[in-house]
Point group: C2
Chain length 153, copies 2
């Protein structure tokens, strides 16, 4: 899947998601971050909190959606995430009918971008090396915590 | 889809999920409850907290999984839920590889039980009238809150 050039607006929102991932790493957590924007304005950001809060559902995208609070509609929103969404976060995107998702990278975890697209979600893939290197380093150092975060076995 | 007779063990866990739904209703919340059991022993229960906590990701199943805390594996667990899972909760079931789901009812919200089954999840559908009546009453009285909970528009 070729990487896509982002607009300045998309890039600055993805940068916020990357900052969230870095914040999680500083807190000794899993370095996945996310941001939600509406018509180009930031609504909320968040990061994975499995380790920090002992909360297994607090993936980066989920924490971001929680931080955004209740909304009657997600029309015209874009979700930015440093890592390709897992099945839970994919399901949340579909439930809330978020029409557009910008993904930092899908090298360290593939997710199922084809499934999102097949359901009508516009997906941009940035191929962001900052996201890749944070995740690779975490996966190398904390293989068990990472495995647990994506369902274990 | 025909309703299935539950074993005594499954019925008592589903009863706990129904109690959680009732607790949410008492709190003026959305009456969906869930329980997670491992080898027949209760791990955690929970209920929808969108209204109570202003948390859009806190569906019944998600609150239950959060309350269960971190687990290295969900092998041999069963998730009990009063209502057919939405795409987000379906995704969480797949992410955590929960092998078995007992559903109270799918009349007031269909979900996609066929999709769960196609991914190898064993699904039992109880056709529980208590679950149906709580949800019908809530949907009638609070149509907007219900619409918001399942993605709005």
């Amino acid at each position: 899947m070729p990487d896509q050039l982002l607009s300045t607006a998309d890039q600055s929102m993805l940068d916020l998601a990357v900052q969230e991932a870095g914040k999680s790493l500083q807190e000794k957590g899993i370095p996945v971050g996310a941001a939600l924007a509406h018509d180009g304005a930031l609504l909320a950001s968040g990061h994975n909190e499995r380790i920090q809060s002992g909360d297994p559902i607090a993936h980066g995208e989920m924490s971001c959606l929680r931080n955004a609070g209740r909304r009657p509609s997600y029309r015209d929103t874009t979700l930015y995430t440093t890592l390709s969404p897992c099945p839970m976060c994919t399901g949340a995107i579909l439930l809330f009918q978020i029409p557009r998702v910008v993904i930092g990278e899908c090298e360290t975890y593939a997710g199922d971008i084809g499934f999102l697209r097949s359901r009508g979600v516009e997906v941009l893939l940035a191929g962001d090396e900052r996201c890749v290197s944070m995740m690779r380093e975490f996966q190398r150092r904390h293989a068990e915590a990472w495995s647990e975060d994506i369902g274990g076995r």
